[in-house]
Subunit: 478 residues, 2 copies
């Protein structure tokens, strides 16, 4: 074995735990290239003796590094430095997740991260959540610990139904609702309901995880371009797809809100042939700072062609693994006949807590608070951006948690990203949301025809971070 590459100086009074110090030290060594791919780490036993810390402390640090991809554990052989290039890819994939909360040191990151997916948990009513949990557990006897209905508890479904009707105009009965542990699970279930080899159309650019999920289904995927009113229905019609995955209330990541005329075109497309369906992903319709939100697409659907999907992960907390899907009746029957045996993925306890949180009005109050908070950040960001507007146009504002800047001077996204990174600011080029650009296909030609477009999320940043981050962007982009 080569000389021990670990020279950590543990500082008991640094305010950091020993585990964190070991973890951060090794992570930095890898990031800075002092530890190279496939290089072997000292055994946990050796390191714990060498550093005079407990074996558990070293195990935890190594475990965390393995979990994050910095290290790879090979059975019977030990720990090795992982493929860090892959790590950056993974990091990118994580950033596409729409429900991350920023965690210090979670992935190799820049100081001011304008992630479009980060949310602010600082105002979450932890005390209320705890109180509800406590009360529920006081009452809870065995029925709460039993397996619930596959579709979710009737009471929660009724509450969701009322909420969706009131806030999004969704027309449904509780029996049409399926509660599941996250959108990904609901899409897995939907594949079983819809069947195989369904030709799906997606907006381009789009939500990358949904794209990956459809790809994992081996569904043929058509990418449909957008104009300023959203997905182009003429191109959708041409594609021959049977299913379209759309985000009408606020397209991700462009922020386009689909006007009523286009919605009607879309519904007419769905009604044009038997067995055509629309998946409406209404992922962050809760946050709108100006004007009234349009009701959901589902609200205008008279023919049972819209599958409505929503989640509490964004509006409450990512840990709340509760999403819901509203099935039109023909699909509901198919679900019951062919998929009704899949058991529920959400515990009844969690369903009961959530039901209480919503039906007692806490959710509404929290949403109001968050709307105000995000609006403040939104307004601050737009204010700070003002000077940049000679070089960029803004779109996608007034709702959601990010805005979109389009460059007027013919610069490339890569150049803008790199300049920002040099100033310790992370911004997100639109290119990575175009699937064919992501795959390197036609990227050259498309990039030429499309001006550089940058995504700036503000949900997870504190006001002073927004101010300082934009200050730095002005410094390097103007």
């Amino acid at each position: 074995m080569r000389e021990l590459p670990i020279h950590i100086e543990l500082e008991p009074r640094s305010g950091k735990t020993l585990y964190e110090q070991i973890y951060e030290y090794i992570r930095e060594e890898i990031r800075q290239g002092n530890l190279l791919q496939d290089e072997r780490l000292p055994s946990a036993r050796f390191l714990s003796e060498y550093l005079q810390v407990s074996r558990t402390t070293v195990d935890m640090a190594y475990g965390q590094l393995v979990a994050e991809g910095y290290l790879v554990a090979r059975p019977k052989r030990g720990y090795f430095v992982g493929d860090v290039r892959e790590l950056y890819n993974t990091g990118m994939a994580d950033q596409q997740d729409r429900t991350e909360t920023l965690q210090k040191g979670k992935s190799p990151g820049l100081r001011y991260d304008f992630s479009p997916n980060a949310i602010d948990m600082s105002q979450f009513p932890y005390a209320t959540w705890k109180k509800i949990t406590k009360n529920i557990l006081v009452d809870a006897r065995s029925h709460m610990f039993a397996l619930g209905e596959p579709q979710g508890d009737m009471e929660l479904r009724r509450t969701i139904c009322r909420y969706l009707h009131g806030s999004r105009g969704v027309n449904c009965d509780p029996e049409q609702i399926i509660v599941g542990a996250g959108n990904d699970f609901l899409l897995l279930l939907l594949e079983k309901i819809l069947g195989r080899h369904i030709h799906v159309a997606m907006e381009n650019p789009t939500y990358i995880r949904a794209y990956k999920i459809f790809r994992s289904f081996a569904y043929p995927i058509s990418l449909i371009p957008l104009d300023d009113r959203g997905i182009r229905v003429d191109r959708l019609e041409e594609s021959g797809a049977k299913l379209a995955y759309v985000m009408p209330s606020r397209q991700y990541p462009t922020g386009i809100s689909m006007p009523i005329g286009r919605r009607m075109e879309l519904l007419r497309w769905a009604q044009g042939e038997r067995e055509r369906y629309l998946i409406e992903d209404d992922y962050d319709s809760e946050f709108r700072y100006k004007g009234k939100p349009l009701p959901s697409l589902q609200a205008s659907d008279r023919m049972g062609r819209v599958i409505y999907i929503g989640t509490f992960s964004k509006a409450i907390a990512p840990a709340i693994r509760v999403s819901y899907m509203v099935l039109p009746y023909p699909l509901l029957e198919r679900y019951r006949r062919e998929c009704g045996f899949f058991s529920s993925t959400v515990s009844r306890i969690d369903q009961t807590i959530l039901n209480e949180f919503i039906s007692e009005g806490y959710f509404e109050r929290y949403l109001n608070k968050m709307r105000k908070l995000y609006r403040t950040k939104h307004d601050l960001l737009l204010g700070e951006l003002r000077e940049l507007l000679q070089f960029f146009s803004v779109s996608g504002e007034n709702a959601g948690l990010h805005v979109v800047l389009t460059d007027k001077r013919g610069r490339s996204e890569a150049a803008l990203e790199q300049a920002a990174a040099d100033a310790d600011v992370k911004v997100y080029g639109m290119g990575s949301f175009y699937m064919e650009e992501r795959a390197g296909q036609g990227a050259e030609s498309r990039m030429k025809s499309r001006p550089a477009t940058m995504i700036l999320g503000y949900g997870g940043l504190a006001p002073e971070q927004i101010t300082e981050g934009i200050e730095r962007l002005k410094g390097c982009w103007m």
Copy 2:
């Protein structure tokens, strides 16, 4: 509208809530055929005025009846009596679920239900669970409400790893473990890892939900007969399958424990060709009343061919929607490459509670208590059965939560089931676990060649119910 068919006499002092009384009245009317399929119920508003109860009370009763399939809600039209034949089918499907807890009035049932899937929650340490939850929520800040690792939190995976190693001899690293909200979800994920059109072999008889799940994948399924040592590996080899779903430690529902020789044959089969895998469903290995349990099949696997699946739903509580899957390294790599973006289906809070419950020793203590309790029931059942043994042989005893009785006198399962039902006792003929008999294929010929075999579960019954239930069986089967 025809004359109001609801003549409920509500009894405020009956000890039952008004909601229960309405629910039970209508259910009985439907069961007894006084309300027929497609018959329309009075509107909830009308009924609440007529009965002078709150609208919510009627809504709840109707909602429950809809949830259970007795009623169907048609939007804008009202409530109608559902297809009750379908209801009985659904009831059957539920009984195949291995983790039900008996709930009063849940489905049209007999008084003494020897369901092989019912478990006893009477000894569950609710207070401990509440205490852990409370403590965790006291410490919990935002990181607990963030989205966790797709595979599950490292700490929980480490705990599961230690537990599996200690109790089942499973050889794995925490990084090989994927935590998910139930076996069904893990199988959905596994389909994405293994790919499409995988020819799967299953034991026959087998666990029906797994069969349905593979069928929903459109996997070609070969049903492999068992001998007294478990799945016949010669027939497995002949089938041409690439994947086999097996329950070596205690086959469901036969209760056969696969001896080491057969296990070795099975592993040799898996190693015989590239890309052959075994799914080991180790679903209730926790309960064994005599002798030492054999370690898992995975423990003997040196070539990375066993996918090990287990759950806490049976050993802790069905509401604990936490199962785990141990992937061999080649599949782990494929998972990370192709499925690593599927986000976790278990909230971090729930993962943390479970981790605490196990790592603080409560799980072990609870298991010991349950082993004792189930052993008592097991011994009682065997004692009560003694007189029946001139007409039946017993197998599958000494472990799990059910025993198997094989008739010596050439009677049919249907006749035995019916005789029991007439005495208000529910027992389960083995025929419904043979997939081709279930489908009506070859049922005739197979039934002739196979003696009637009845499954008697005791997990969910109180001792006096076991005694009385067997007393009744003696009365009608002897």
